[in-house]
């Protein structure tokens, strides 16, 4: 069972809701994935079209928990204000905190992230910071009051998987008690399985599902991969070694030369 801020979840997948071919496919993909948490955002609403109202009613109908993000925020003030607005609209103290530092890679501005996290945690938010695998930043985020960390696997939407395996493994080893969610960069179910085999608690995925040829099929594939990855972690993977070790016993080998 995964526990994030006192909420128990049986699924280890947090699913994004953006870039699906249609609302119907989004709905089916969420169901196929088994996700109990979906990420959402806030964007400008037109008084004429009121597009956000339909989307919100669709999400409420799914019966899942929402994790509002601060996507697109480049400053502490923007992120904190967006978090306040999200808390009111979505009626949750959860926030996926993003403070973007650079547009090409969407790399987090970890300095702004720590500052914003400190403000929001003091105000009672339960912050899910989108961060890098940097150990010292992780420490600062925990000191600021975060009780979950979300290191990137690779840049958002890149689908490149776990880019810095050593860094991620070190982070896992350094903070064994903190729920760690790999957020961003996961492109394939095998990447998600790998994250869980390494002991990460969950993954947050969007593009890998929404941009698949068959998002519903891919959502199901991720659900299976996560179950396999977690089961493998719990079963205790073997230690890798450099040289071959015969698996068939040598004793009793026939002399046939």
């Amino acid at each position: 069972m995964l526990r994030l801020y006192e909420v128990d979840l049986s699924s280890r997948l947090l699913l994004g809701t953006a870039r699906y071919p249609s609302p119907a496919i989004l709905t089916e993909a969420v169901k196929a994935s088994g996700a109990q948490v979906v990420t959402v955002s806030l964007r400008r609403e037109s008084g004429g079209e009121r597009a956000g109202q339909g989307f919100w009613s669709l999400i409420r109908g799914l019966g899942v928990r929402v994790l509002p993000n601060t996507a697109g925020c480049h400053s502490v003030k923007e992120a904190v204000t967006t978090a306040h607005m999200g808390r009111e609209v979505f009626n949750t103290s959860w926030v996926k905190l993003e403070v973007i530092g650079e547009d090409e890679t969407l790399q987090p501005d970890v300095f702004g992230l720590v500052d914003a996290a400190r403000i929001l945690c003091k105000e009672g938010f339960e912050v899910f910071p989108y961060t890098t695998e940097d150990l010292i930043v992780a420490e600062r985020l925990l000191e600021a009051g975060c009780r979950v960390l979300m290191p990137w696997g690779s840049p958002i939407g890149s689908g490149r998987g776990l880019n810095n395996l050593f860094g991620l493994q070190t982070l896992r080893a350094r903070f064994p008690e903190v729920p760690l969610v790999v957020d961003a960069g996961i492109g394939l179910p095998s990447h998600a399985a790998q994250a869980l085999e390494l002991g990460f608690d969950a993954v947050l995925i969007n593009t890998a599902v929404s941009q698949a040829r068959d998002p519903v099929g891919m959502a199901g594939a991720f659900a299976q991969a996560l179950a396999a990855g977690r089961a493998a972690y719990e079963a205790g993977p073997m230690e890798p070694r450099d040289l071959a070790a015969p698996s068939t016993p040598l004793i009793g080998t026939a002399f046939l030369a």
Partner: protein, 65 residues
């Protein structure tokens, strides 16, 4: 008076935020508001006075990753 609503210039008659939202077609909608970059909670909207040139942001739930 003219104010900027989500970046577009609009004419509104109401002097308070609640009235302006109603007038602009947001009546009953689930939205969050900010004026000149500062969040205005829903409970504060009736008392929030608008002045010429204010920048109003009206945000609603949207898809996100």
């Amino acid at each position: 008076m003219r104010i900027l609503v989500n970046g577009a210039s609009r004419e509104v008659r109401a002097a308070d935020l609640s009235g302006a939202l109603e007038e602009l077609g947001y009546g009953g909608a689930v939205v969050a508001t900010a004026v000149n970059g500062e969040f205005v909670p829903a409970t504060d909207r009736p008392a929030a006075r608008l002045t010429e040139g204010d920048r109003l942001e009206v945000l609603a739930p949207m898809q996100g990753g």
